[in-house]
Symmetry: C2
Subunit: 139 residues, 2 copies
Amino acid sequence: MNKEYILELLLTNKIRKTQFRIELLEVFMNTKYGLSFKDVKERISSTQDKVTIYRALTIFEKKGIIHKVPNTNDVSKYAICPEACSEKAHQHNHAHFICTQCEKTFCVDEIELPILKKVKGYKIKRSNLTLEGDCPDCI
Amino acid sequence: MNKEYILELLLTNKIRKTQFRIELLEVFMNTKYGLSFKDVKERISSTQDKVTIYRALTIFEKKGIIHKVPNTNDVSKYAICPEACSEKAHQHNHAHFICTQCEKTFCVDEIELPILKKVKGYKIKRSNLTLEGDCPDCI
DNA sequence: AAATTAAACGCAACTAAGTTGCATTTAATT
DNA sequence: AATTAAATGCAACTTAGTTGCGTTTAATTT
Ligand SMILES: [Mn+2]
Ligand SMILES: [Mn+2]
Ligand SMILES: [Zn+2]
Ligand SMILES: [Zn+2]
């Protein structure tokens, strides 16, 4: 069933069903927190080439399959988009929690994001709420 | 007066009053948006050494004088902390706006952040609201 | 004012993240 | 089976950020 969903996801986004890209999506779907490039590489067996991995991350993000999690350190982390995002609309309505101890990042669906259209001259198209603290494993 | 404030800031944080660090704080105080390492380097004349600049950014952040702005791209941006932050308490109550056109990042004081203590097992110590869209200059 | 001390500086060398170009392979289409 | 464009893999590159270490200098002590 997950496999079905993955194949459909690739099909509708016109991404070819290669072993690596299927495996990559499986990894994302089986991980409840955000993954860095390094995390991904460790969890994958069908390739170890960084260019290949980066290109997959880039196109998945562009197509709205995964999204970057905003953070304050240098390494990007990616997580699967829980709602139906697309190349055009990449809007989420969930917050992200970053554990300051283990550095894991989680998507948190329990919180309603404040919806803001306009603030003093700014045109707001998207908003991200990032929470920091201790995750269940580290408390 | 700004100069007074800068000197006091350095004094209370036990940071030596070197020409560069004073200049760096002046730059931050005179800029209404977040600055990357590169931005800083361009605006500074007393040194061009990256190690010196990075070390100042790091210690200023640690002392609660400046803060990193959460983002989804690879370069960190720093902005001055508008409230009285310290080494112990680095808590802000303002959002950040990132312009998707000019990439400038602004601190936005107009928005009240939702204060969240606990969500499903997570212990929340800090929260960051990041807004994306068009800034006044780019609208 | 001179001596002391630790913070700050500056340079070289390094690590890690991420990108670009290009030739080769392969999934999907005809 | 032939075609084609997407995907892969390797080398080489760029940029962000760090580490080690010797030198300088701001601040403190005498
Ligand atoms: Mn998420
Ligand atoms: Mn700010
Ligand atoms: Zn944790
Ligand atoms: Zn702008």
